[in-house]
Symmetry: C2
Subunit: 334 residues, 2 copies
DNA sequence: CTGAAAGCGCTTACAG
DNA sequence: CTGAAAGCGCTTACAG
């Protein structure tokens, strides 16, 4: 285990070659005799040498660290989305020789991100959600830090990757309408999240695509917390609404609780659908019709995009990933 | 924004002093004239200089990065516990000039951790759970990497911090027994997690403390997934069990679903309690009696312990944090 | 109180 | 194909 602090210099001395040569054998850059390279590589193998990445970074002006920006708000941070995302990012980064450094930010405090940047701890950044008027994004642009955003953004200059929330929501809503639903409601969270807006658009697209649909739709945004949901649910029950579309699994959980408490049968008296299909709702009875995204894949691809950018490769400005509509027992089958 | 790449050398040249002097003004180490220091500091302030932490690290053989080890298993990673932990760690690290680098490991794959260590990317590590026969722990010990474990471990040489799960579970179980419960069941997850064992001990302590209790208790460990829970619940219903103690909120969610599906009234026909009090169960009706831990605080203190160790300060081998028993409507009141 | 110099462990023109 | 030397941006004995 003493090998731990072997340096390129030690190896050079031991083998009677120069540090330059050792460095070349390792990196594969520059011409070097086949013989010499093998000798060096063998020695390295035997003695478990592994290069000091920090020193390498200093010389190359890199850190081999990627920043991952996470929302540090309570509640939100708990959404499984971010963890699954992290899994994908972490694995990909790791397999490319990078590590992942986290920065938790809130709407009005991005100091952790600023520290990571000004301290030159990271080569690039992955944003894990997008907002209208996105402070981290603004900061990164101003400071010329390479980044990719998971989520969508109006700004065409930012490299973004997202599931196609709008189409997903349109398709799901469409299916519901096809089943003859006349009264439908949409409940969503913070309107500053782009994803909230995308889903809203998809929801509305479904109606404009069906000109003959003459029912009633209701929309509730910026819904936050259980008591507000209860109030809304009471209103919807009074209105004889047939279906509630929930924009995330947390809100859906609240809706389900409210319905259960009021002894409303699902789907007979009220249908319910949600997004994400996370474990938050797994095993709920009845099973919940939901959109499913491959969030780990999303993280993986975001990471690969960033790595390409760091390698000065060209990348698509916008990548749209798919989704899957899973019809289950919380809705009447088509 | 050009200030970005200011170096200590630039400042020295500009001010007509040596790099040594600039360094001393910044670090506060070594004697330096009051006048000179102020001049340097002023210049730095004006030009938004911020030192290259990587270079500093190379010179001092530090990275100012802390490793955080997270379980990379699906499902488990989704437990809000780890996110809240991360919040505490991240904030504390940040306020001490450190960043947090994540390594996701599974029971049989700790390569991400190994990479971070052999690449010398981190100064120390925080483990976020403990297992019997803990691979990351073993690796860190063998390689002399400073670390603290969130969770308990038999090994007296490891610095560990944990909520007092055993006492918590004993107290909660005790309260239930005081209410006259005669048939009680415990459902828990993976037995290799120390926390599962601690809670089991606490559960049993409650009975030994009440010698005259003559009821029936059942214990199910290594329970994994919803169908197994359903099967257990059916058995318990047949047995006329009065109360189910769930070791985590995920299992509790499964239990609640199974009961709801079977039209069992809580707490009239079955009482239910859980641990963590996470948002997974928030807003469930009836509200769930539960233990509550301050997980962010746990992360914060773990991080502070590690920072002290890195500073060569003495620390307590074992820190036990409190808990709160929250009696709610899923149990009959005492 | 201050500075010249060596060093942290790498990389990379440049010269041979 | 190989090496001496300078450099990445800091710190830190050592000397004055």
């Amino acid at each position: 285990m003493d090998d731990k602090n072997l340096t390129i210099g030690d190896i050079a001395a031991e083998l009677g070659v120069s540090k330059t040569t050792v460095s070349r054998a390792i990196s594969g850059k520059g011409r070097i005799g086949e013989q010499t390279r093998e000798r060096v590589l063998e020695y390295i193998e035997e003695h478990h040498y592994s290069p000091n990445v920090v020193a390498k970074g200093l010389a190359q002006n890199k850190t081999f660290n990627l920043g991952m920006v996470l929302p540090g708000d309570y509640n939100i941070v708990e959404l499984p989305f971010f963890q699954n995302c992290m899994l994908g990012i972490s694995r990909t980064a790791s397999s490319h020789g990078y590590d992942v450094l986290i920065s938790m930010v809130t709407a009005d405090d991005i100091t952790q991100l600023e520290r990571a940047v000004t301290n030159r701890k990271i080569d690039g950044v992955i944003l894990t959600r997008t907002l209208t008027d996105d402070a981290p994004m603004k900061y990164l642009k101003e400071n010329g830090v390479p980044f990719v955003a998971i989520g969508s953004a109006d700004d065409e200059s930012v490299v973004q990757i997202d599931n196609d929330h709008q189409t997903a929501c349109r398709e799901l809503t469409g299916k519901l309408l096809e089943c003859g639903i006349k009264r439908i409601a949409l409940i969503g969270g913070d309107e500053r999240y782009i994803v909230t807006r995308s889903r809203l658009s998809g929801f509305e697209d479904a109606f404009t695509a069906r000109k003959r649909w003459n029912g009633e739709k209701q929309i509730f945004l910026n819904v936050d917390g259980s008591s507000e949901v209860e109030h809304i649910v009471d209103g919807l029950l009074a209105d004889r609404t047939e279906c509630i579309v929930c924009m995330d699994d947390f809100l859906c959980g609240c809706v389900l609780n409210a319905l259960q408490q009021r002894r409303i049968e699902i789907p007979e008296q009220m249908q319910v659908v949600s997004f994400y299909d996370s474990t938050t709702l797994a095993y709920r009875m009845p099973s919940i019709t939901s959109i499913r995204y491959d969030v780990e894949e999303l993280g993986r691809m975001a990471c690969e995009l960033l790595l390409k950018i760091l390698d000065d490769e060209e990348v698509k400005r916008r990548t749209l990933l798919g989704y899957e509509v899973r019809m289950r027992n919380s809705t009447r089958s088509a």
